[in-house]
Symmetry: D2
């Protein structure tokens, strides 16, 4: 592939994953955002909706038009669920490659999808073809994929944290626990009372404790890693901050004699070649601000009181590694670009 | 006991538990704060250090003087650990009753204390006499106690959440997990870099994941409930807010056939007569702001996907129920006052 | 008046001023909340909407019914503008006294009202009778009033700050500047995108800089104080917090020789008998947390570099002194109760 | 100048301006951070202190050594005041160019400096040579400078906001008012009680209202613009957030007939060629998050009620444009690089 500029399109760029995608793409050296669509904001300059982009992007929202999108090398869907599945088949047919940031192409099981999303899936035949866009699991398949279902934010943090344990069968697969917290941007840019500053600020709560839509996605991934059944209890929490996800993962070691040092070494080796996974020294406490605006996942291991419960801490930026950064990482792989292109920035700290 | 005003003293009132104690006591109808001590702030009017108290309290800090404190009916210690144990014996001898908010008299085992606090305990002989000030466990003993060790903030939220389960042996006692988060005031009013707004704001992290000083206190309480050994994995987190503690508790049901409804009923019955424990409807998500400035603990039960892992959510205000409110509750019991006196205020919301 | 319990009603209690009013009234020793209305939440227990009130209040929302409200001694309107003006005439006729927390009865000039609120005023004849509920200005008239228009939050902080200066003509009345900031609860409990945690958190902005609805209310009050025309430039800001208002007031001294000490003394004398206005020592910096949940306004004076620009800092809790606390203060006056009844609580700090 | 890599050094990189400088420089295509010094952290890997830089920088702090620093093309001082002035003379003599982010070389008047900083200036002879690093004012002189005193954060926001007005004499120069707010990172990475999350969070206050060290710096700059005396009242505020500065500027128009449109046009023309100053449409409200992590200053004009008081709103990121971003902008100019090099990133939003 030469150094020519590639054209990408974005369907539905008025939410937080949309503006984050734009933030990353406006400085990406190899691609150009050619189209960004929104029915509701048709005609509005993107930088009017997102003044952070003033001076960086001279583009207006247009109504979605498959013929126009078909002129792109790759199209991102940064839409709520059930939008992508209506448009993707036609785009694929037109030879466009697709990275879907929504939930439409993450689950392989159409029945499970319709159970959690309350409607039939529009193109179940594509679910098998779609590649789950977690590069540390599926890198080679992503390179060849026409369609990538980009992982959710909690699923990314949790799967990367459990990955080395489950791949090697080091922990009991049926008593996994993930207690995780997300900043408010994870809930999207929708005007809901519960997400108001005056409601969500200066407070902390669990939500979806009896069942959350991310659970089947996470369990599907963990099953792939474990090569057998797993059972996860997942409780998400709303943290009074804007960005960031922190997952605290509990599991029971199968072999008590396995030392923390050995586990640490195992994690370091598993992720040795990974640009975007950082295994911090054992006993570290990664903070969400260590990855603010960056595509990194940072992990740390603890074995409290030397007992058999292992604790893995995992942090990502929910909008970068948990959505748009990972989408760009997938795009880079699909377009044959170096995986880190456009994702080199360090986290914003403090 | 008549309606005369009782005299209380506070040793070390320059921290957050001190100012919270004062907030509650200045409107308490039966007691008067007669003395408040601080070596560092001797001579400073309390309301100069805490302008929130301007117009409510006309008192200055004095150097600690046991003879003066001995004129009080009851003395609170709102000091760092290892201060109370040096002064309490003399006060008890003088006939003063003591509520210690620090860690000095919470553990019954002097060896365990010195292991976690790095020095020998100054009066191990009092550890047995001291009553652990969790009224829902020890109400009658508190009434008679000369010395009460007031529970820590995390321990209060976690013990109240597990109490009905362990008392009845409903869950496996050896795989308990508590993933909890606290606002920054829980770390005290000390100038540490890690607690700066610019460090702790807009971020989320675990800390002490390999071992936290509150663990032995919590396990001691859980053992008392269970009447046998327990094993708890406890991971605290720092939440970017000022006040509040939220504990997410995981345990494994011994009997799969026990329904969520039955568990809910069991919780409601156990806490039926408790003024300060609120069992919310099953499936609720208590938020820390539901108890801001109030002495309530609010609980809710979840059984995700009907599996055997039970999730209990428990919230308190770390400075009220987690420290000074509970101290006043204990004082009320010790002085023969109605338990709720001075603690009737509803939470500040939003 | 005897010690019998008085009955109060609340129209429209589903917003933040509603829940704050309830917080204050549930511990008020002389009144009982007999009715609380909401069309949208009819039938819902109040404590279901506001779990902070669980255990404090056993009442459900009912549809507004003037006959029922007419059984109350006093009715609060905690509604958006244009609701109270439709119901108040009938209530007054029925002999009920009214404290309106909305904007309907603050302005005396019906034309000005309709200019800022975009519709004609429904009962302009009551605007003259209505008393502006700033006790420090209108205490005696409030005692006798049938109808009190409770001041807005910014207007309270700003008017109290300028009061001693304008009453005595100490500053130029035509170049007044108020740069003020409010927590997000000031915008009400409405689901607007701009008020989301993910939008308003970790950011700071001015709004309404070209003209804000509070301006005519503030200028009306300042004119009353000055006894002549005034001109104010008012710029409000949204502060990433939940509660609190801080006003920074700039004015030009008419007499350069007037010392800061003399001004300080003047402020202290003017507010000497006021329970809810605290003039802090000159050079102090009141913080909004010094009044969180309390009915106090705390003020401080500065004269930077000894020049002729005087700076007054003024803080209140927007929901307490800026709305519901002041409403209770007005109620106390109207019902012949001691002005501080039910408002004795100290601020929640930290 | 060829495309070779230039060597830069950083003295004192353990604070927030240090880590922000590193964040910008690790992706700067033309420079390499060769040395970073800290006495306190000698030997510590930079990424241990700032884990956000793990994977981006492989460098440890060393003790400051002028001979080593002298091998750099340019050295930044990211130190508290009074450090740079002790080392700069020797570095300049060795032919190294210097960008000082501290206050040592901002004021031209050594007497004024010692008055505000409480000690004599160590090299008053360099104050005249030093160029004030506000590129929009002094671009050509910066290109040639050996020594640049980088503007403070408040001064940058305030000066850019007033610049077009004062240069053209459009407003009265003696009644300028700046009411500004900063996130907590502006106070530096020092463990002070007042900056704790539990103190500064969920609250808002003014500070230094009677006089702040930034005042003489700002007035010096405004005098340069106005070509004559100015008088500014400056009140800074602490905003409960981490990053960002917002300045609300008030001034009185000399000519009432000058329309807002004309003023808007004047601003747009004045900053037409400026990559890092964005004049938003009149009536806009720039938010600090519109510039988070970016080097932009965004401005907007308001003329409330058509009166003669003009309001200018100005936002920057205090650590980027208010410190390290502007330092890199100055470095680019000094080293003959395109001014925007390494500063192309869009703001992080939300």
């Amino acid at each position: 592939m030469g150094a020519s500029t590639l054209r990408v399109g974005i369907v539905g760029g008025t939410g937080y994953t949309g503006v984050e995608l734009l933030r990353l793409l406006v400085t990406h050296p190899r691609v150009e955002v050619a189209i960004i669509t929104s029915r509701g904001e048709e005609g509005t300059p993107v930088a009017d909706l997102f003044p952070s982009l003033r001076g960086h992007l001279d583009l207006s929202f247009t109504a979605p038009d498959v013929r126009e999108l078909a002129k792109c090398d790759l199209v991102f869907f940064a839409t709520p669920h059930n939008v992508a599945m209506a448009m993707v088949p036609e785009l694929l047919e037109a030879g466009v490659r697709v990275v879907d940031l929504s939930a439409d192409f993450r689950l392989r099981d159409a029945k499970l999808w319709s159970q959690w999303y309350g409607e039939p899936h529009a193109c179940p035949e594509l679910l098998e073809e779609s590649v789950y866009g977690l590069p540390e699991m599926n890198r080679e398949r992503i390179r060849e994929a026409r369609l990538v279902g980009c992982p959710g934010c909690y699923p990314t943090a949790i799967q990367l944290g459990f990955l080395p344990l489950l791949e090697q069968g080091l922990v009991e697969p049926d008593g996994l626990i993930a207690s995780a917290g997300s900043g408010a941007s994870g809930a999207g840019r929708q005007a809901k009372t519960a997400l108001l500053m005056a409601e969500a600020g200066e407070s902390f709560k669990a939500y979806g404790a009896s069942g959350h839509r991310h659970l089947p996605e996470i369990e599907q991934g963990l099953v792939d890693m474990a090569g057998g059944p797993v059972s996860l209890t997942f409780v998400p929490h709303l943290v009074p901050m804007v960005r960031g996800i922190h997952a605290t993962l509990f599991s029971t070691l199968r072999d008590s004699s396995l030392s923390l040092e050995a586990l640490q070494q195992h994690y370091e080796e598993r992720f040795a070649g990974e640009a975007f996974v950082d295994v911090m020294p054992a006993g570290s406490h990664p903070e969400t601000r260590f990855v603010k605006g960056s595509n990194h996942c940072r992990l740390a291991l603890h074995r409290p009181a030397g007992r058999d419960t292992l604790v893995v801490l995992s942090v990502i930026d929910n909008l970068t590694r948990g959505a748009s950064g990972q989408a760009v990482q997938n795009m880079n792989l699909m377009l044959g670009l170096p995986e880190q292109t456009g994702l080199e920035g360090a986290a914003l700290m403090p």
